[in-house]
Structures are given as structure tokens and as C-alpha cells.
């Protein structure tokens, strides 16, 4: 059994205090110990983006980060985006534009899209494509995803 370490960080605005094995990934911590299953496993090696979360304002594949490295950090998962029962505008835009089919990749896709728009409110379609190239989707062909993001950008501009 691996050595455990006590860990303190902020998840979706709330403090978390938990003991974690030193070799546990953030993805497994979220899914197995914190019941935050919106963040998906689909490849486990940083190639598909399904496990994307925000850590201190930047996005990361949570399968590639050790849980112990969360000490003192702030993270946002897909479950932390909505306000009460109201969807975040990015989530609502994905729903409105028909960007969600099987939906399995969407938590990572939405987290990444929201990050891109926060970083650059005047995102072009080409920049969106580049910014989302690490997020694999097998259902949509990305077109409706791009439409959804473009709508949010338009609303801001």
C-alpha cells in the first residue's frame, strides 16, 4: 500500500481536507474518493481531454497530475460551473446548439471552451479549433461545439 499524505485544497469554492495515496492521480481522487464523476476517464494518458479540469485558472488533464500536487490550489470541475440549478452560459450554449450527443467528452470540452473564452473573449473560430484540439469527441464532428462556443463569444462581444 502506498504512503498517504494529508491534502488541503479548494474544489468548486469549497475547502477539501483529505488523505490521499502519494501515487493517486487527480482524476482518480475526484472520481473514486470525492464522488465527482462528471470528470471522465477516457484514455488516462493526456491524449483525449475528457478529464480536463481547471487548476488555479489554467486547464489540465487531471489524469496526468498527482493529487498531492493540489496542495493549496483551487480547482474547478464540471460540477462547479453552474449556479444553483442554473446552467453556466457555456453549458447552456452547448445544450441550445445541440452539441451534446452521447455527452461523454462534454465535461472536458466545456471546461476547456470556458477557459479559452475567459482567456480571450474575442476568440476566432480558428483559435477555437486550435484551443479544442486536445479534446476528442466521436459523436459531433465538433461543428456544433464550435457553434456553441462562438455563440458565447458573440454574446460577450
Amino acid at each position: 500500500m502506498s504512503v498517504k499524505i494529508e491534502l488541503n485544497f479548494t474544489m468548486n469554492g469549497r475547502p477539501v481536507n483529505i488523505e490521499v495515496p502519494v501515487d493517486m492521480t487527480v482524476l482518480n481522487l475526484l472520481r473514486e474518493n470525492l464522488d465527482m464523476k462528471g470528470t471522465k476517464y477516457a484514455c488516462g494518458e493526456g491524449e483525449c481531454g475528457a478529464c480536463t479540469i481547471e487548476v488555479d485558472g489554467a486547464t489540465i488533464n487531471s489524469c496526468l497530475m498527482y493529487a498531492v500536487d493540489l496542495e493549496g490550489r483551487e480547482i474547478t470541475t464540471i460540477e462547479g460551473m453552474q449556479t444553483g440549478n442554473i446552467l453556466h452560459p457555456m453549458q447552456q450554449s452547448f445544450v441550445d446548439h445541440g452539441a451534446v450527443q452521447c455527452g461523454f467528452c462534454m465535461p472536458g470540452m466545456i471546461i476547456q471552451a470556458n477557459y479559452l473564452v475567459k482567456k480571450n473573449p474575442n476568440l476566432t473560430r480558428e483559435e477555437m479549433k486550435r484551443g479544442l484540439e486536445g479534446n476528442v469527441c466521436r459523436c459531433t464532428g465538433y461543428t456544433k461545439v464550435l457553434d456553441a462556443v462562438a455563440d458565447v463569444v458573440g454574446a460577450k462581444g
Binding site: A42, C43, E79, D96, F104, K129, R138, C139, Y142
Partner: protein, 771 residues
Amino acid sequence: MSEQVAFQHIEKTTLIGKRIKKPDAPAKAIGKTRYINDMVLPQMLYGKILHAGRAHAEIISIDTSEAEKLAGVHLVITAKDTPELRLGFVKDNAPLKDKVRCERDEVAAVAAESEAIAAAALKLIKVDYKDLPGVFTIEDSQKEGAPVIQERFPDNKSLKFEFKHGDLGQAEADSDIILDDTFNVHYVTHCCMGTSCAIADFDHNGKLTIYSQTQYPYNYKMDLAPALGIDPGDIRVIQPPTGGSFGAKLDVYPFEPVAAILAQKTGRPVKILFDREEEFINSPTRQPASMHLRTGCTKDGILTFRAADVEMDNGAYTSWGATVPVIMMRTTSGHYRVPVVDFKGQAYYTNNSYAGSFRGYGNVQMTYATAQHMDMLAEKLDMDPIEFRLKNAQKSGEVTPQKSYLRECALAECLTTAAEASDYVSKLNKYTDEREQEGRYKRGIGLASSIHNAGGAKIHKSDGCGTILKMDDYARVTVITGASEIGQGIDAVIAQIVSEELGVPVEHVNLVNNDSDLGPWDVGVHASRTTFIAGNGARRAAIKAKKQILAAASKQANVSADELDLRGGFVVQDKDGAVVTKLDKMLRQMHFQPEPDVVMVSDYYEPNSEPEGRDHISDHSAAYSHAVHIAEVVVDTLTGEVKVEKVTMAQDVGRVINRMGLEAQMEGGMAFGLGFALSEEMLFEEGRLKNPNFRDYKVPTAPEMPEIEMHFIESDCEEGPYGAKGIAELPTIVVAPAIANAVYNATGIRFFNPPMTPEKVARAIWEKKNA
């Protein structure tokens, strides 16, 4: 309030053709949906499978004693524990193997208290193998004295399909041009984002509940039962939300009975979930095929015959997917007017991985060949390429040699619409002229078309779907349908159709469709059939409910039921929309009376198609549809990179139902074809997969997506719901040959062996230059 209502008039409107949001999208977008991958049952154990990791071997011995001793391990099983159990289309497969026939073969399985313990236990199992010489190509499989893969099939031949029509010798003699080419189509796989998963749980009466990603829950029971030695009636299938399917889940695969056997023997629920590498190695592929195609035509551009000799790599076991020649031959014989046909399809056992069903079902392969031959013939004839195709395009009412009855045929309209929209002919000529000029980047445009079943495909005894519809005292509707939802959007379509008929908001229609104990029978979500078949079923059930309500209302209002309608939550006068009463109030009045009249109706819709039959001469679908894609590409002649800039689509959709869902299927379906054409390829070396990850197996990502222009041709199918046809496979089928034809237009080089990777394209350009 009631006084105001009495003076209200409600106009007749329609939802058909509108944009309807998927009801399950919000929960998916906020991460609330629990997919099967996310599920944990009380007392659940984790199963893991030891795969052989070698292509062909005898198993001399298996020692599981160390694994059994590991803390947290509950059970280890091998083929010895499951001697008589079989699965697969010809029952040549088993949950656990006593001999290794391919890399993915299941040798042993463990149930433990965590995935980590199960994985550790697998490492403690000692297997002594004696490797055997393997067969890794169709040619090697055919050789005299080739190693035998399946003892029951000593000549290594699996399924065989034949269809002949007309006098081939005469047709050859009548031909001025005969093309003769062999197309070799490669291995690709589905790459569902949610990896394969099953959770099995037995109760104390011996009844199995299996949580499954299956696309065909009712026949799944029939296929799973012999792999467990239980009665199909003792299986309940629950379909939690799943991370994509695309045909991958149209069969039973060994991990599913293995999970069930572990559950049966431990008395605990057992979950088996693949990691991505396991998913690549152990899930189905599309059939790689060698297609020898000959096409003849006269100098006037009239097709004289098609002869196709298709050899398929079956892999080590025969799955449902091995039946794809059923569809290949429909395209060979029925796409364009082909007077004489000679189709042969034969699958050969090898020690490679085995293929399953995959979106397009054989038609992706066949159309890659036929659509290039059409392009080549137009060029050889020096004929306007649209005129050539139009000369051979069927019209409504024509019947193909296999007796596919093209009731509403919009092939010509698809061709002219796409060609005009993209300025196809003038661009084709311009790029041909520019081909031999200097310059690193070459432009090309290419057209491809195909036909596909669009009203189901009667490959089972029934191609039907059951629907149960009930309304409560508040005018909320519950529809229990046999139709499965795998992300494609039948949930939205059924809510839309029921809403259309009963005049209630879409949000007031609840769908129940994930439990085989509740749902009536359906053949499964495949063959582009669900909107057509389940949509018709839902519509028919809703019409029955409406009749019942209007009959009751007619008595109360003392007018004929024909003069009434349901709109906006009210019973109204049909002619002017004058409100008669509120629908929920009407339903309560019907319910709470001395002789209660409760709305609970059912329907079983069987399409008017004919069973496929052994001779393959039957009108096997209730509708057929065509699509044309025109791809515009830029080829970097230095690096060989092919960039698809735009795809113009024209497809006969019968009638648009949910416009948003339809567009989404077009876009997503096209992306599958794009990956198949340009980048996706499973690389096998002596039966072992060399690229089981997203780094080395390249699925399309956002930057590769071209601009898409869609044209929906509405041919108004008489049998389809509101005139609709099935739509979801054609976009995958036609885009790859359109790209191949465009690459030819740009470079003058034909690629008969996809994918058109930069390496392959650059080498071909270099060889052409230095020839």
C-alpha cells in the same frame, strides 16, 4: 380564468422540421449524468480479464494459485470453469479460451475488491503457452496446408455471400469500357469515448440483471444466454447512459458473459470496465476487405455490369459484423442502374482481431470502390461527370436487381443540388488543368454518392418496435419504447412526435427506454432505423391516444370527434381552434367516472419490408435513401498532407424531423468517414496491435473539420413518419470516396488503399514524379 379560456383560439402549428433540444443534454453538460462507467453497486466486485497477448498458441497450463491467495481476490476463473459455453454468430467463440486464436483472447478472469487488486492478481497468473504458426493475411489463410484457426472450419472459410443477376458474359461483350481494380480497405475501430463496460448481478432466483452498453437489448438476451447456460428469459438488460456506440455494441463480446460468470459464482455484482489500451485491442473493428471490382459501360455512358469479388479478413471469430456483404451487395447491385450483377463475398479466418458492426455496415468499404469507379468511368468517357451519373441514376418507382423498391428516389436531385451548390463541374475542370502546373499546393474536388437502407433492414424475423404510451391526470405523457438511445437523439425525436400529435409541450413527454423488463421488443438501434421505425411506432401510439381522448371529448361537447383536435394543452375545434376544454381536465373527467376511461395504449409497428432471405432477393427495407458528398481538398505535394476544406452534402432525408439532431448526425457521421479516409488505421504486426492509443491512432480533432454545407432533399417517404427516412449512416459512407476522388483531381493519383496519410500520399507523388 376558465371564462378567458372559453374564448381562446389556438392555431394549428407543427413542430416537424423544428430544432428540438436533446432532453438529456443539460444533465450531461453539468456532469450529473451517471454513465455505466461511473456506476457502483452495493457490494460490487471489480472484474479483470487476462488477455493472451499473442496471436496463436496452445495453452499448456494455467496456474492461478498465487493470484487466488492475494488479499482482496474473490475468484479466479479459466476455461475449465466454463467448458460448454459458446457465443458468436456461428458459436465459434467462448467467454474464456482453452486455445489462443488472437491477441485479445480471454485466458483467465479475476473478481476482486478493487480494480488495483484485480490488476495485481492478473500479474500473478502463470500461463505456459506453446506458440503456433499464425495466419495474418487473407492470402496466407487461403494457402494449402495453412494453419487451421477454427477446427470446425478446416479450410479457414467463414461466411460466404453470393448474388448473381443477368448474363455476365454478354454484358462484358456489350461493354466498351471495363474497369478492373482491387481496393484494399484497412482496419479501423470505433473509439467510443466511454470504454466498454458491463455490470452483472444475479438474484437468488437465478435471474441476471446486466447493465450493458448494448444497442440491441432484446436479441442480446438470446445471444448472451448460451454464453452463460441460462434461459434468455432469465436476463434483464438495463442500458444506463453510454459513451457512444456506433455499431460497436451490436453483438455480445466475451467480457460480458465473463462479468456474468464472475457474478454468478461470487454471488456479488461484478463490473468489468476496459482501460483505453484494452478498448483498442479488445473491441471490434470494421472489416478490412480486399474488393476486386469490375465495372463495365458502353461508350454512351450506360452501365452494363458490376462484378465484385470481396474477400474479408474475418479475424479469429465470426461476429455479427461478418454479415456486412448483405449491404455491400445492395450497393453493388443497386446503386445506379446496374443491369447485370455478379457479387461474391467470402470471409477468411485469420489470427487477427475480429470485426464487428460499424456505422455504414459494409457500405463504407463498398462505396469506397464503386464511387471511384464511377469517377474513373466519367473521365474515360470524357463525359460531363454529372451527366454520366444522371444517365444511370434511377427514378422513383424503379426496382433494383435485388428487388429493392426505390419508391421515392431522389438520387438525381441529390446529384444536381450538390453539384450546383459547389460549382463542381467547373472546379473539376479547372483543377484538372492546373494539375500539371508548377506549385506545391494543389486543389481538387471530388464527388461520391451511395445508397443505403433508410427504413430499417429486415435481417431478423421482425424489424419492428413496440411502444406503450400512457397519460396521467395532469396531461403528462410517458412513452415506454423499445428503441435504444446511445447519444443519437431518439429521445428528442419521440418527444417531438408525441408532442406533435397530442398537442402537449415537448417537455411534458417522458421517455422510458432502458430496461428490458419494462420496454416492449425492438430489434435494436442500428441500420439507420430508429427515427423511422420507433418514430412510426410512437406516432401510431400517440394517434391511438388522441382518438380515445377526442372520442370522450366528442360525447361531452356533443360534436363529432373529426371536428376536434388537440393543441397547446387543450381540446379545440379543428376548424378555428376554439377551445373546448383543457386537456388535463378532460383526462381527469375521463378517469374519475363510474366507468373509468384511462389513456394507456400500445402499438407494435412492423415495417412493410420483406425478410432478407438466403437468396438476397427481397425488398428488405421500407425505404432507401441516397446521399452525395462533394469534397474540396488542398494537397501539399511536398508533405503529402491532405486538407479537406469543404464538404457539400445533399441527402434524401425524406422529411426533416428534428433539424438540429439531423445536422448533428450529418456532421458527426462525416467526421467518422474523414478519419477513415485520412488518418485512422490500426497497425497490426503478426496479429498484435501496435498503436493501441490516441497518440498513434489518429481520430479527427476540431482543426481537421472542414466547412460543411448541407442540403436536405425531402422526397416525402410514404411509409416514413411524416415522410422521413433514416439518415445516420450515409454521411459516414460517402465522404471517404469523395475525398479520394478529390485527391485524384488534385494529384492525378488514385488511392485504392486508404487511409490517405501524408506518408502514403507523399510517396505516391514522389514515385509518380520519378517514374
